[in-house]
Amino acid sequence: MKYLGLIWHSVWRKKIRTSLTILSVFVAFLLFALLSAVGFAFRGGEDVADAERLIVLEKVSIINPLPSSYQARIQAVPGVEAVTHANWFGGYYQEPRNSQFAQFPVRPYEYFTLYPELQMPEEQLRAWANNREGAVVGSQMAEALGWEVGDRIPITATIFPKTDGSMTWEFDIEGIFASDDPRGVTNFMLFDYEYFDEARAHSRGQVGWYILRVEDGADPVAIANAIDRQFENSPAETDTSTEAAFAASFAAQFGNIALIVSLILGAVFFTLLLVSGNTMSQSVRERISELAVLKTVGFEDSTVLGIVLSESVLIMLLGGLLGLGTGWLLIQSGGLLPGLYLPASTILLALAFMIGAGVLAGLFPALKAMRLSIIDALAVRA
């Protein structure tokens, strides 16, 4: 630590050059933060998915429905603690463009039992369950659309007309729920399945998918297999997977986008290494005689190596933390895209990249400084 002063002053030897390098690093890590957050959003929050929760889908395709009669049969499978179901409604509010939020017809009490991470006052849950045309919305969505409890809002259906042929479904907002996980996405709306099933013109008695939780200590894989076996050779076979596996496989459908993001980051970091490596080698070249003096007064080779490496890492950290911090602020403010989140793992990864890139960029200049022959270096000047 006592070398910190020396390192700090050496870093700022050429102010313009160092500032420009730091700014490049800043841009790189700002990009890293933003792209990671977008990538995380594309992965559909697979990181927050629950491995103890299983999802039962129709085997051929996620769009095919399952009979509502399956609920009792799934519940009867040993090791299943609780089960409920949901449907995809596919409506929009006012404009088809506003379809970024989803609506699911569900069974109120059952659903909130299966998703304990969703927090909502008990009386709102009761009020919703008691109002056929009631709905509850996530806090992210309520905030974005300015909705409050007591509002009556029309949702235009794209798949399910009502029995009277109307495509407009009206709901009373009875509650607003939030997630206790900061990464949790709550831009969706829930309404009563009973009402939905009675009021829709077609596909009655069919649900989109089942959600279940296994008992503590039970083997999720064995239970998933047991469920799928039960419906084998029936007209609607099932495919049961953990919520986490489902989220991961769904995210893979976006496919190459993740690849493109990594590609861009690769290009950015490659350039970054070049920029800072060049800065460090220029810096070492300029002060060969100074480094020789350090060795003359008794600095060991390894200390000189450490000092040059530290300079390089320091430049990375200065720019990197600044970029990461700015990215974090932008993401938190929600100004770019609402609902983005910077996971802790990304922040740790970024720190590792800063130190790694710093060491890599500084390595060759530092080795050069370490191997410097004092006599030759001093002779350059004389």
Partner: protein
């Protein structure tokens, strides 16, 4: 003229000096190259996606779906409604047959070759007439499916992108075993991402009775769209939306390309700023290396403007070299690169990246701007260098 000579002379001197500053020059060049590569990658993806969807749409074909449906997947049309449409005015007829194709659109899970994960692949049920309604469908391998049998033809792009779709292979969806009997091309349009089979077979397999999801109609002319729309709107037995195929696919493309571009452009701007820093750094070090030379030139009478211009020329040249390298790399790496993603119909769209000349020109323009901006400030500094001091110091 004298000024021009001066500028040329100083610029030549600068460039002669370049090998001595190879490191920082290379960094500036590669920085710009990286910007252009990323620029081309992102925008060629958006372009390719858009082109795939838009090339599927023509103005004289209409898509008819249930009112309010935003995609074929969420639509539903009954057999009776199809009959009404077939007899409506504005529909092109070949003798007695109306050029109308009622279709069923479902999604099946097929593994993607790239990830080996299940993907939602569109499975379309059509009548043989669909090949007449759409003019650009060509069977390029095998044969067309035989009505009533569990067989299908696969689009060229889907066949390349997904597992197990070669002619002669069988694939199981649910309890039904299907045979791949042919491969079709559709001018690189989105139809090539799909599997096509006999609509009756598909209706039976998916227990859809005698219902459809969309109806495609060849129009007598582009103007017939309004007539057909009006006729159907006035008919109380039917509640549908009529849009031209082009408009339908444009709206399908909008969300994804909007997302790619919305992320892509800010990304480009940020990266360009980073590249400007690289160029600035390179030019400042160029000036500090050449300080004495510049001072000597100034002392024997070269003007500050010549020094300024020559520095900007140098950085622009470096940026342009970087831009060309980036453009070439992007073209080689990405042009025609096949990818697929989840489109607006909740199903996979297979598309090729399209690195167009237009896009490359835009990339080079960005490189030019980076070069000029990156050279300007160091150039001003070089022009202002106090001659006497620079000579003494070095």
């Amino acid at each position: 003229m004298r000024l021009l000579n001066q500028i040329v002379a100083v610029t030549v001197l600068n460039l002669r000096n370049l090998p001595k500053r190879l490191g920082s020059s290379l960094v500036a060049i590669l920085g710009v190259a990286a910007v252009v590569v990323v620029f081309a990658a992102v925008l060629s993806m958006a372009n390719g996606f858009e082109r795939t969807l838009l090339s599927a749409g023509s103005d004289d074909t209409a898509i008819i779906m249930r009112s309010g449906a935003t995609s074929e997947l969420s639509s539903g049309v009954s057999a009776q409604q199809v009959q009404i449409i077939e007899t409506s005015p504005g529909v092109l007829r070949d003798g007695d047959t109306a050029l109308v194709s009622a279709e069923l659109y479902v999604v099946v899970d097929v593994k993607k070759k790239a990830t080996n994960e299940d993907a939602n692949v569109p499975f379309r049920g059509v009548e043989l007439g669909a090949f007449d309604v759409r003019r650009n469908i060509d069977i390029v391998q095998g044969r067309v499916f035989e009505p009533g049998k569990n067989e299908f033809v696969v689009g060229r792009a889907a066949q390349q992108e997904f597992v197990g779709l070669d002619v002669g292979e069988t694939i199981r969806f649910g309890q039904t075993e299907w045979t791949v009997v042919g491969v079709f091309e559709a001018g690189g349009s989105v139809a090539e991402s799909e599997l096509w089979t006999d609509v009756r077979v598909l209706q039976a397999a998916y227990r859809r009775g005698n219902s459809y999801q969309s109806v495609r109609v060849r129009l007598e002319s582009e103007e017939s769209l309004a007539i057909l729309e009006q006729t159907l709107a006035d008919d109380p037995r039917i509640n549908v939306d009529v849009v031209s195929e082009r408009a339908y696919y444009a709206s399908q493309a909008e969300q994804t390309t909007g997302l790619i571009r919305g992320l892509g452009y800010p990304l480009m701007i940020l990266m360009s700023i980073g590249a400007v820093f690289g160029a600035l750094n390179s030019m400042y070090s160029s000036i500090s290396v050449r300080g004495k030379e510049i001072a000597t030139l100034r002392a024997i009478g070269f003007g500050p403007f010549a020094v300024l211009v020559s520095t900007v020329v140098e950085s622009t040249l470096l940026a342009l070299i970087g831009g060309l390298i980036g453009a070439a790399a992007a073209f080689i790496a990405f042009n025609g690169f096949q990818a697929s993603t989840l489109g607006a119909s909740f199903s996979q769209v297979v598309f090729d990246f399209a690195v167009t000349p237009d896009l490359l020109m835009q990339g080079l323009q960005a490189a030019l701007v980076i070069g000029v901006v990156g050279g300007l400030f160091p150039a001003i500094r070089a022009a202002r260098l106090p001659v006497a001091q620079a000579l003494r110091e070095l």
